[in-house]
């Protein structure tokens, strides 16, 4: 499958321990930046009740969903602790400060 790498912005666009949203025709994508400048992307839906993960508190390599406090791993998308469920991951690359999302079909980026 061909992967298109879409440029969505630079590291500094996202606050450390924060997230921003990229709108796509498949639904919103949450792009996270951890305290140590790791970048991760998940579809912006908690596996529990669809809460917007982009609005959660980011800690370590996890985010806590703002609706019911499920903790989701940014690395795997899976719920941590006793909860079960998984958010869909999206490939990301960080190259010289530029963030790119790896999507499996042709898309075009435009800064919003």
């Amino acid at each position: 499958m061909k992967i298109d790498w879409i440029d969505v912005g630079v590291l500094e666009d996202i606050p450390a321990m924060g997230a921003r949203v990229v709108r796509s025709t498949d639904g919103d994508i949450a792009v996270f930046r951890t305290a140590d400048d790791g970048i991760f992307a998940l579809y912006d839906r908690c596996p529990h009740k669809g809460g917007p993960l982009s609005e959660g508190i980011v800690h370590g390599r996890s985010v806590t969903c703002p609706l019911h406090n499920w903790v989701i791993s940014l690395e795997t998308g899976a719920a941590e602790g006793p909860d079960h469920g998984c958010a869909s991951r999206i490939a990301v690359s960080l190259d010289q400060g530029r963030i790119r999302l790896g999507l499996s079909r042709a898309s075009r980026a435009a800064h919003g």
């Binding site: 990229v22 609005e55 800690h59 806590t64 609706l67 800064h111």
Partner: protein, 813 residues
């Protein structure tokens, strides 16, 4: 196709069957659950601490709706079953629906026993069985009011203690000669009674209730000897009887309870019954441990696994009254072959008695020192020969080991792997230790989540802590019983605040570094708490960390379930104008806001606003003079008012102007949790000031100031702080109160539990009696709000934190 399983009764026994079933055969059944109570499943045995105000209803909820959804169970709560049609294999709901089953589990629990005396049905007479009963009691509770509890058993004494903690004058009337006579012998019963009386409870034994008297509602209890005890509330807590009604009506074999065999199957092979509603080998049980043992056997049956059988339970009892340690297990009656070993220390109020028969423990009663309860219960259940240690049995294992001072950690270490730690959930030491080692558990909460040990009545929490300690060694540092803020630290809220001040720590990373946080940057529990503590400690200096704020406080609006937001403009004192209403109407039209709702706090809520619309909505509201109502924050929410002396023929003071002045003085201050206030213009109290965190009630001669009310999951009337004469004093006292709460309340602790923790007398000392202290608190509050009384909406409408409200990018296919 899956078989259909119907469960009647969404209580502890029934839900435990489902939990056990999920472990065994999660795919076997389509499960439908009917529960008569309209609440999520909660831990019924923890109602006593809720009544006493030591826990909140939230704390005792065990399974919320997500658990049912996650397991694919259909839950109908608040839905009663009226009948079982065994021929058609259907249950019939109270609204006439018929639901088919292949297997049926009845877990309808028990009814409180009502003694058939005149007046038993009067308003003001309640039982103690479910959360509705607790709410009914709390509605009548309050300082200076009187309660009579009929029944001096486990349930009655816990109810009496709870009402006493709520400030009531409480009398227990008990038919027998000593209290808790089913669990305690005369000596322990006497010690318990003496301690309860020392706490202020009146106890009348050998008291036969003749009637409950009162004109239209209960006004007191009359005993057979003619004695009358006046009461505003009468609690009947004389015991329970199995609720076998449904089973009996369906023609199942039933005596006292629904008769089941050793496999929990009733006289109809398709129907099982578990819990308090059953009768097994002539026994019915009212304690939790047997229910859980039954649930395991029932789940094996349903899963079609093995032939496990239930052989009846040996039970032990603990009284859940804080500060009184009572343990009882097995027999202590007058078995002629039995021998007693007794230890008494009258000065320290300790009494221990072990009952032996043929050198085996058959019963134990411990009062004042119950540390040995688990070990004795183990000896009782295993029925092992104790002749070798008989001489020292009563002093515990440490004495037998050489007379050294007993080390509680060593005592736990010495327990065998199959020793039971959690009686409620039947969890033994070996299982907990294995879970700690294989799953890397660090805290009591972890152990609870993974093994259920200490998840029910909680009385084994200390044992679990010691197990963690002796399994993890120094890695488990929690020396005291202080509850850590979260899993990232061993420190509790109060210690952290003290250390922030003492070590002058000024940033979140600094606190985490100096106090040895276990995680790189905390979690969603500790970061908001630390952010608040630093904000409160260093007003004007500490830089608020947006990434440590819950979303609502970060974006200054309330997130809704669909990810949209709600917007509530401030309306000072609940007063608005045509211009403001017109501006709001225009905003609703302009942005197609789907819903407009008046809130409980006399404000207008605009619901369904999209995040990227927020700055523009705020700008338009700002133009009409409307600012943020902080309806999203741990901050002052609203000051509710009545119209007062300006319009009302009963009004004694201008409550509306007072409310506006209070709101103007206190808005924008961050607090540990949300704060709601109200001002009523006369004692008719139309603004409902006595259920607010800070409530003002005008009287002819001035203003009464009330604190610590609540009207959420639990309703609590305020305590009177004091009375003042002038509006200026109302403002000063209110600011001082808020500052004390800001400085000493724990993050996410509402004012009422804080006040119950420290006592209203402490507040009176700091705010009323000590003028210097009041002035200082007031000054610190004014200083703090001088930095925060800025409209956050205006700042954001002008471009602050713009990244918050715009997407990073938009991709079009």
């Amino acid at each position: 196709m899956r078989e259909k399983l119907v469960l009647i009764g969404n209580g502890m026994a029934g839900v435990r069957v489902l939990e056990e079933l999920v472990e065994r055969a999660p795919e076997k059944y389509d499960v439908t659950v009917f529960g008569a109570e309209p609440h999520p499943t909660y831990n019924r045995i923890m109602l006593s601490p809720v009544l006493a105000g030591e826990k909140r209803f939230d704390d005792i909820v065990t399974h919320d709706h997500t658990w049912y959804v996650g397991n694919g169970f259909a839950l109908h709560s608040g839905s009663r079953i009226d009948g079982i049609d065994r021929a058609a294999r259907e249950v019939v709901t109270s609204d006439g629906r018929r639901v088919p089953y292949d297997r049926l589990v009845i877990a309808t629990g028990s009814h409180p026993f009502i003694i058939p005396v005149p007046g038993k049905d009067l308003p003001g007479v309640v039982t103690f069985r479910d959360i509705a009963d607790v709410d009914a009691m709390l509605a009548e509770a309050g300082s200076g009011r009187r309660a009579v509890v009929i029944g001096g058993g486990l349930l009655g004494l816990e109810a009496a203690n709870g009402l006493l903690a709520r400030g009531m004058t409480v009398t227990v009337v008990h038919l027998m000669a000593t209290v808790m006579e089913r669990q305690l012998d005369d000596a322990a019963g006497y010690l318990l009674r003496r301690e309860l009386e020392r706490r202020g409870l009146a106890v009348i034994t050998e008291a036969n209730t003749e009637c409950i008297f009162g004109d239209g509602r209960a006004e007191g209890v009359r005993l057979k000897d003619g004695c009358e005890i006046p009461a505003d509330l009468v609690v009947m807590a004389v015991g329970i009887r199995p609720n076998a009604d449904l089973g009996r009506a369906a023609g199942l074999a039933a005596n006292r309870g629904i008769v089941v065999d050793d496999r929990m199957v009733t006289s109809d092979a398709a129907i099982l019954a578990v819990g308090e509603c059953v009768e097994h080998r002539g026994q019915s049980y009212g304690l939790v441990a047997p229910l859980y043992e039954m649930a395991k056997v029932a789940a094996d049956q349903l899963a079609g696994l093995g032939e496990s059988i239930y052989q009846g339970s040996v039970t032990s009892t603990k009284l859940k009254v804080t500060g009184i340690d009572v343990f009882s297990a097995g027999a202590f009656g007058t078995d002629k072959e039995a021998e007693d070993i007794v230890f008494r220390d009258a000065a320290r109020g300790i009494y221990k008695r072990i009952i032996l028969k043929e050198n085996r423990v058959i019963g134990a009663v411990l009062y004042g020192d119950t540390a040995d309860g688990a070990r004795l219960f183990q000896l009782l259940r295993s029925s092992e020969d104790v002749s070798a240690e008989r001489d020292t049995l009563i002093f515990g294992p440490a004495f037998a080991a050489g007379g050294a001072a007993p080390d509680p950690i060593e005592a736990v270490a010495a327990l065998s792997a199959d020793a039971e730690i959690c009686g409620c959930n039947g969890v033994c030491k070996g299982r907990i230790v294995a879970a700690i080692n294989t799953k890397g558990l660090q805290s009591v909460d972890d152990v609870r989540a993974h093994t259920k040990a200490s998840a029910s009545c909680g009385s084994c929490t200390g044992l679990v802590e010691k197990l963690l300690k002796c399994t993890l060694g120094d890695a488990f540092e929690q020396g005291s019983s202080v509850k850590p803020v979260c899993g990232c630290t061993t420190y509790g809220h109060d210690e952290i605040r003290k250390l922030i001040r003492a070590k002058e720590m000024r940033t979140i990373p600094e606190v985490m570094q100096d106090l040895g946080w276990k995680t790189a940057n905390g979690c969603s529990k500790c970061r908001p708490a630390l952010n608040y503590y630093l904000l409160c400690e260093y007003p004007g200096e500490y830089r608020d960390d947006a990434q440590s704020r819950f979303v609502n406080e970060r974006v200054h609006a309330n997130i809704q379930k669909d990810g949209t937001y709600s917007v509530v403009p401030r309306m000072w004192g609940g007063v608005t104008s045509a211009a403001e209403l017109r501006a709001i109407a225009d905003v609703v039209d302009r942005y197609n806001i789907p819903s407009v709702k008046v809130t409980g706090g006399q404000r207008i809520d605009l619901l369904g606003v999209k995040k990227d619309q927020l700055p523009a909505v705020w700008a338009d509201l700002n133009n009409a003079g409307l600012v943020s109502g902080h309806a999203y924050g741990k901050a002052l929410r609203t000051v509710k008012t009545c119209v007062g002396s300006e319009w009302c023929r009963f009004g004694t003071q201008d409550s509306t102007a007072m409310g506006i002045a209070l709101e103007r003085a206190t808005w924008g201050a961050w607090t540990p949790h949300k704060v709601k206030m109200a001002v009523s213009g006369c004692p008719r109290n139309c603004a409902e000031a006595t259920i607010k965190d800070f409530g003002v009630v005008a009287v002819e001669s001035g203003w009464e100031l009330h604190v610590g009310g609540a009207a959420g999951m639990h309703v609590r009337a305020t305590d009177l702080l004091c009375k003042v004469a002038t509006p200026a004093e109302v403002l000063e006292y209110c600011c001082a109160f808020l500052q004390l709460y800001r400085e000493e309340g724990r993050y996410l602790e509402r004012p009422w539990p804080w006040i119950e923790r420290v006592g209203v007398a402490y507040l009176q000392r700091r705010i009323v009696e000590d003028a210097t202290s009041r002035h200082a608190l007031h000054a610190r509050f004014r200083y703090a709000v001088s930095f925060t009384q800025k409209d956050p909406w205006a700042e954001r409408a002008a471009g602050v934190a713009a990244h918050e409200f715009a997407p990073l990018a938009e991709m079009r296919a």
